[in-house]
Every structure is written in structure tokens, then in C-alpha cells.
Point group: D2
Chain length 303, copies 4
């Protein structure tokens, strides 16, 4: 049957990410306090879900330290503003090879490859309602870097996430990642209906043109839930693309630093802009309670 | 090559149409004066092109009277607000058959079938920069009505339009209409690069889901110009759809009467909303001068 | 979920059609005896379904005479070769307008517009397992001809077909026809799961490129049954296209007269060629009994 | 413009591959002599291009030894049967990680990561008309294996191939690989019009459903050349899919071992079957001379 435009949409704000963006914009939050505050402001602006990474408070460099996730989680949980918490579980899959004439040994600079349990330690500790699962291995824009999540790793992480009672948001960066997501559900690793994030326009995953996008949307089972985003200047166009294809929306400084050319953005500004697009399209924005019901999420305190 | 998002977009306002909408909304303009005023307000709100039908001033019923088109044209031309004028040439192709047990003779009630020259009399008289050409024959929502534009009629009208030095906006209501548009260009009836309007979601032409839409977009030669719209509650979502697919935008009371459920709209309000969507997506709105250059249009006074 | 390649396919042979092809190939059958014999040979070659029109035995011109359908039906029913009978109900919707400067009155030459009951008289008489329903109105290659099936006519014919206990094969020549097919099912006129024939590449309906084709396939509910064909030199490529998209196959002299350039074909030759393509693709060809079970058809003698 | 069905197609036979298939079928050739003979038989059956890997003659395990490539090349060059030679350059990008709880250190068992120059040593030595370039990094069906070709590696290999005057066949296993292929051409690493192989249905790259396939086809520049294949039971259906989408064909034991369930195939049998499908579709099969002209290839003796 034809795809339907989403009439009630939820917005996720991807607050800070793990990229080297802290040196490009002073508005990228670094400390748990800053991250939590930015998340809460995004929620006030209309985001029902906040997707958080953590960073080293001093350098702004990405981190996997559980205590940082813990502080972010508690600050968000303790705030007066309700929001669904989504923590990344993407860290610990960074592999940097040697240069083209000697790919091995692995380059320790930038490599951070952890085991499945270690990659989910903060999830086990913080018990967010959602955590991400980057569903494949691929090149990124850099010369020698590989985002590395093997089938074996994904099965292990998927089972651990399910056992924790946390909902996995499966991030698909290309059509093959989405295929493996269906396989994880067929194998019972993740329960149906699953929740998918289509990560478009990130080199060298799926490009964000509408033909590629629709081919991915067409391969998501109709009873699953999905969001989609693109990066940089296409972040805002993709707010509309996601809605048109029957999905939900993600914006935030993880994916794009600018409000317009030369004007750095804050998270609530990006969320407000998404709300503008969505409501002008005649679509309603869901709050966190409605999202919890729709996605069957359980709000829990950290352990 | 992948389709590109439009970065500079033009907005057409379809001011009043020919449907029986005048009894559904008092905001539908009827007299040439009202139509011209609504067109000018739409232009002030951001429409670079106004697409106009005329109506009988008293009843609001659609009309083909040249003097009404003439008055609309002169009022718009004489105003201080610059805008590209696009007059319909769709009238005169209305065929109503008898009911299912006796389709012939034709039902005179509602039937209005004119010859090619007669259908273009107002275009010859007013010399708008653009006029439409409905590129096919199909059922509409009503039981016995057929929008009737045969291949022979379209070739005749197309040649007449070209001879007048008016640019044809070829309206395609389904994939076969677009195929015939390409044929008209191959035959030299219309010059390349042609200008297409994808009319989506009008029963029983092409539905407005993204798969059908993209299949039409993929079949437009890349150097042509196109716009797209859908009707009713999908008018505003389609502002974004058109931009995402590399096209331009059309809104207006011809296609949708409501700002939101239960709230009747004016043309400038609909244009403003489109501008909101477009600019929040980071896309610029073109003015009439830029459109004339892009589409190689000539502004002329009526004969 | 992704579309699946068909692993068990049925082939329909469209035996003779109604076009003026009898003067282009002496192999186009004219009399009921010839039509029945060609149908039976096609069945022997692998067609599980034969789709039949009738023609005036002398001139070869298309006909709607019930006694001709009756003879075809009885000859096929009485033969030792089992095959599912599919009779056209497309005749009686031919409208020829006047030329471009005077579209009305209707041109009696070539016009044949009958009421719903009359268009189905032979179906009521012969009780084939399947009859077609051309689900819309559109231009064909000719200058002034319109294939005319209004929504009102289609609702009437659909109800009559359903009341007769005959299965409708809904022929969709463009995306809007398929939309109306879904509407007929929603309204209860035709029962779900419906049976669709995608008629591709017929000017000026949907072109037969893969993008347009897939957009139609994507809009068929997954539990419905569908076939697809194209015409002329693309008849054989479309055997493969239909299978790849999860559908079934139609070939026959109605759609294409040639085996290769300059070599006129017979129906069994075209069916054999389709069987070659299908079986080389590793796909099985279904017989009439399996098709009856799959489509829930009832074989009945004529009244 | 709509995609056109290929009317003159070339067939590549992928003779032996590098997978562990030698233990599944005794018909998988191992020694250079066997590989060359199978390639020549495939050429006689209709393959204009043979794509060859080499294996250790005793174990049948994949190999990168230059002398084995040399022997294959010379045997094929010296035979009376003309065929275009395409050597793999995919070897040397095999990375096997540790299991899910300890992904590093790399598992030496199965890991074979070579530098760019080393990976192309046999290409420099044999000077085939074509060599492949696997245009990305991704998971395969196995638990811990990653096919690893970073952007840096691909730029280095691409430049070396171009400098050798060998034509690169860029293998795209997912939409992001194709995006990077376009980038390589934009950067001048590979000359336009490039030659693409769409490798479909290989877990966990792009699935081989028609929607995903068409989204990749739509993103190949129209003046480039492309082939496409799928694996296992979908090898033969994809012969038709490639032709329908305007591409060329690849079959062979590298991608599929069976003629039908339980019946092991030889290369010439698979090529013959592809020829059957293609010619029954009314499409001509090109010989090696026509392919050389079309792709602007130069036949050269090894150094």
C-alpha cells in the first residue's frame, strides 16, 4: 500500500555527538552539565527524545566513561522537564588502519575497539529508555578510518541490550545495515516491531537523495518505527523528508552545527526550526509521554 | 546522477481554480478584481508566479470569457507589484457522460468541449508569460466526468501556444501525461527545456505517495524545469516534497481551502506558510525577475 | 519488507485482442474456432490462463457479439486441454471525438459506448472464471480516441461482475487506475485480495521503464495477485520484469505480433519463449489447477 | 529520461572467485590451467569478458601469487579463443577481528591485509584489459570478517590502476560504495565514463530487491557503463534485471555453484543459460571485439 505521511511525529535531538566538532563551534556542549542542560533546552523546544554522547569536559574529546554518562542521565532525570533518554552505544568501534602502503598494524592513534560488554557498560548502569546500535561496518570521510561493528559484535550487543530491557534504536547507514537489522529481528536478537534510525548522507554510507532514501524506507517493515536524518545543510530538508516518507525526525548539533551559512546553532534553535517545518506541514509534534506509549518504552531510574 | 535538493525555489500561487469551491469558502475570489487582488497579495507574500482562472463574478462558476481574463491580466499588470502571470488553458475540456447504463449521449450539464483555437482565445488576447496545458485525459473524483484532452487536441494547442510566444507549463496528472509531454517536445511542438507541473494526489490521477512522485520526477529530463503540488491536507507537505526532489512549489486556494482543519485560508496565508517551510529548510525564494531569467520568459502587455 | 522474486509463476496468453492487427499479421485469429484453437495451443505451450476477445470472422474487426464469445468459450471448455478462461470486458468503452477544432459531436466512426449491463452480457452468458475491468479513462496513441471507463461505469461493472461470481482482473494502465482499483476494494465493489494486471508501455498510459513499473508494484497491496506486461519489442523483457517484481506473466498476439524483427509470431511461440525465460531464471510455471487454487477460481459451464 | 532496456549486452563470466567454494563443488577450478580452460569455455559459450581470481592449485585456497595470475593470463592470451581479461584486485583486503568480547588484536587466521602496490603487483605484471576495485568496507556473512578497503587505500589503488593504463571495474556492494566511486571520478583518480559492477544480494551489502537495485541504477551517471549480478539462486533472475535496467550481465561459479537445486554447474553452462535469457528477451550478445570498442579497452601482452 502507498506510504503515508506521518501525522504525529516525534523529534529526537542528537545533542553533542562524538565528532571533533567542539573545536568548530563553542556551542557544542562538553561537560555532563552542559550536555544535560542542552538536552533539557532541546526538550523544552519540542524534542521528545534526546540522544546523548559524552565528552571529556576539558578537551571536548569523545569519551566512554561511565561516570560521565551517569551524570548526564541523572541531571536529565532530575530535571523538571520530561524527555525520553537515548544514549549512544556506538563508541568503542573505531578502527584506524595504517596508510595505504601498510594497512597493518592498526594505528593506535584514533583506534578504540572495545568488547560488547564494555561498549554497553554505561547502558547497563544508566538504563536509558533507548540506546543506539550502529548496524554495520563502513568507511567514513577520513582516509584510514573504519566504523567497525561486525555481525558477531552486533549479535552480542543486541542480545545484551534486549536482556537489559532497553529499546535498541538500530542505526542503518546503508541498505545492507538495514538488511542486517531485519536479520537481527528474524533471529530474535531484537524484538519486533523494531525501531530504526536511517542515517543518510554520511560519507561513505547511503547518499541522501530521495531515490536512495525511498529504497531504504520501502525495505522497513510497515509496522516498525523509524526516524531519518541527514547531515550538514541537509539536516533541515530531511525533517520534511522523514515526515513525507512516514517517519520521524532527528536534528541536533551532532549532525549539523549551523543555523544558516556562517551562523552557529544551538540545539533548541535546531529543534525549533524542525518544529516550524513540521507544524507548517500540518503535522503534530508528540511529547515524551505519547512517544513512550507508541514505542512501549519504560522510564526507569539508573541502577 | 543523484537528484539534488532545490536551493533557489520559485513559488506559484494557484489563485482560484475552476472547481465548485466558491460555495465552500467565502475566501475564494470570484470577480476579476478579487482575483487580481488575491494574486497581488500572494505575490507580496512571496509567490513569483500567479496561476489564474476566471469565474463568473455573480455565481462564482468557472468561466472562459475573454473579457474576464483581460480584466484580471490588466489589473495584475497595472499593479505596483511585479509577478509572473500564468493563465490556465485548461478550460473547454469538460466532458460529462450519461450514467453507467447509457453513457451516450453526452450530458450537456457540465459538458464544455471547445476547439483548440477557442480554448486559447484568452491566451492570444492577454499574452501571459505562461499558460498551462493539461497533458492528457482522465477520470476525476466525480462519477461520469472526464477531463478530456486528446493527443490531437494537445498537439494543436501546443503549436498554437508556441506560435504565440507563450511558455507552456505542461500539467502532468499521471505518468502517461508526462510521457506524452516528452513526445510533444520530441515532435517539436513544445521547445526544450520544457516546464512541467506535476499535479499529484488528484483522484484519479497519480497518487501523491513518495514512490509514485519519485517515479515521475525520475522521468523528467534533468535540464527541464518542474514544479509539483498535491491537494487538500497534503498541499503543505508537498511544498517540501517538491523542494527535496529538485523542483519548485505551488500552493493556493485552487488546490486547498484550509489553513488547518476548520480554518479557511487566504492565498497570501498559504504562500506565507510555504515560504516558512522553504526558508526553514534553508532554501531561498526567488522573485519574479529571477524566475523570468531562469525560465526565459518575456513580460508583454496584452494585445 | 523487500519485494520477493516470484518462484511459481502463471502465464496468461492474450490471444487476439481487439486492435486492427488482423491486417498486419495473418497469424491473428479471427473466427471463434481460430481463437479457441490458438488459445488451446497456447495452453499446451504453458499458458495457464487465456485472455480472449472476439472478432468478426470475416473482417477480423473487433466485436461484442455474445454468440461469438459463446462459441469461443464452448470450444475451449470442450477441448481436452485444461485452461483458465479470462474474457475481456473492455469492449464498449470506445469514444472518438471530433478533430481538434470541433471535439463535439462525438465521431460515430469508431465510437462504441455501451451501458454496464450490455458490456457484461457475454460475461453473464459465458461465466468465465475471470473477466477484465479496464480501470480508467485515458488517451491512446491515436489522435482523437479515448478509452472511456468513468468511475460510475467502473462501480457498476464491478458490482455486476462480483454478483456473477466471476473474478475481476483489474487492468491498470497508469498509477491512477491502480489507485481507483484500491478504492473499488475499499468500497466493497471488488473483494480483496484483488487481481491486478499492470498494462505497461501503452501510449499514453504508464511508460514501461523500471522506475515507473516499480512505483506501481509498490502500491499493490502485498497480499493481492498481480501480472504485468508490456507491448511490442518489450513484451519478452517484461516476462522477466514481472517475475523479478513478484508478479505473473502475460504474453500473446494482443500485445505483440513479432517473434523477432520481421518474423511474425504465433501465440504458442510467444508462450514458449516466455517459458524459456522463466525457467532459465529458475522459476516454475504453474498449471491451470494450481492457478485456480491460488486465485480461488471456480470453473463453471456457461449458462 | 526513462531508463532504457539494454539492446546489446555483454556477459562477464566470474570464473572461480576466492571463496571457500572449492570444497562445495568439484567443478570449481583451482590450477591456472583449469581456470584458463574454464574461462575459455565460458568465452566460447558467449562471455565477452572473463573475471579471474587464482587459487593455490593443491588446496584450492585463494591466492595472490603473481606467477599464478601470469599463467592464467598467458594461457588465456595464447588460446585461439578471443576474450577480454578482467583480473581481480580485490585480494589483500581481508580483516578478521577477534570475537565480540575482544575485537583486537586482529585474528591472524584469515587476515590478509596488503599495501596498495602489493595488491596490484599481478595487475602491473599481467596488464589485463580490466581489473576490479572493490569500492568500500563492509561486513560479510561471517561473524568477525570485514572486507576492508578504506578511502585512502582506494585512492592509492585507483591511481596505480589508472597509471597502468588498465580499466578499473569499480565494484559497488552498497549505495555508499557507488557514491565513493563518483567521488573517485570527480577527484580524477578514475576517468569518466567509469565502469561499474553492482554486486547485489551479498550479505551485508545491498539486498537484491528491485527497489534497492533501481536506487543504485538511478545513481549511476547515464554515460557510464555498468553490469550487475546477484548471487546463489538469484544469479539467473539478475541476468534479466541487469538488462531491464540498462546494464550488462555477470554470471559464473564465483557467484553461484548450481544450475538448479542439487545440480552443480560449470561456467559454460551458466553462461549458456544467461545467453538463453538474454536472447529470448530479444537482446543481442556482444563479442569481445565489440566490448573493447565500447569500453575503449586495449588488448596488451603481459610485460
Amino acid at each position: 500500500m502507498p506510504l503515508q505521511i506521518t501525522r504525529d511525529v516525534f523529534i529526537t535531538c542528537a545533542v553533542t555527538g562524538s565528532g571533533g566538532t567542539q573545536d568548530k563551534s563553542a556551542l557544542v556542549s562538553r561537560s555532563p552539565k552542559q550536555i544535560a542542560e542542552s538536552a533539557i533546552e532541546a526538550a523544552k523546544a519540542g524534542a521528545a527524545i534526546v540522544h546523548c554522547h559524552v565528552r571529556e569536559p576539558d578537551s571536548g574529546k569523545y569519551s566512554r566513561r561511565v561516570e560521565l554518562y551517569r551524570e548526564v542521565t541523572e541531571r536529565i532525570r532530575d530535571s523538571a522537564t520530561d524527555v525520553v533518554l537515548n544514549l549512544t552505544a556506538g563508541m568503542g568501534g573505531d578502527l584506524v588502519l595504517g596508510a595505504a602502503e601498510a594497512p597493518l598494524p592498526v594505528n593506535p592513534e584514533g583506534t578504540d575497539m572495545a568488547g560488547a560488554t564494555e561498549r554497553l557498560q554505561h547502558v547497563a548502569d544508566c538504563l536509558p529508555e533507548i540506546c543506539t546500535l550502529d548496524c554495520g561496518t563502513m568507511n567514513f570521510a577520513e582516509a584510514d578510518y573504519v566504523m567497525t561493528n561486525t555481525p558477531g559484535m552486533l549479535r552480542s550487543m543486541g542480545r545484551l541490550i534486549s536482556d537489559l530491557g532497553v529499546r535498541a534504536e538500530i542505526e542503518a547507514f546503508d541498505t545492507g545495515h538495514l538488511w542486517f537489522a531485519r536479520r537481527l529481528v528474524e533471529e530474535g536478537v531484537i524484538e519486533a516491531p523494531a525501531m530504526i534510525q536511517l542515517c543518510m548522507g554520511i560519507p561513505w554510507g547511503a547518499p541522501d537523495d530521495m531515490n536512495t532514501f525511498m529504497s531504504m524506507v520501502n525495505n522497513i517493515p510497515r509496522d516498525w518505527h523509524f526516524s531519518a536524518f541527514s547531515v550538514g545543510r541537509n539536516e533541515m530538508p530531511y525533517v520534511a523528508a522523514a515526515v513525507l516518507a512516514g517517519g520521524n525526525v532527528r536534528v541536533g548539533l551532532e549532525d549539523n552545527l549551523y543555523l544558516e551559512k556562517g551562523v552557529l546553532a544551538t540545539n533548541p534553535q535546531l529543534v525549533e526550526r524542525a518544529v516550524q517545518i513540521v507544524t507548517n506541514m500540518g503535522v503534530s509534534v508528540m511529547g515524551p509521554a505519547a512517544v513512550r506509549e507508541k514505542l512501549q518504552l519504560q522510564k526507569r531510574a539508573p541502577r
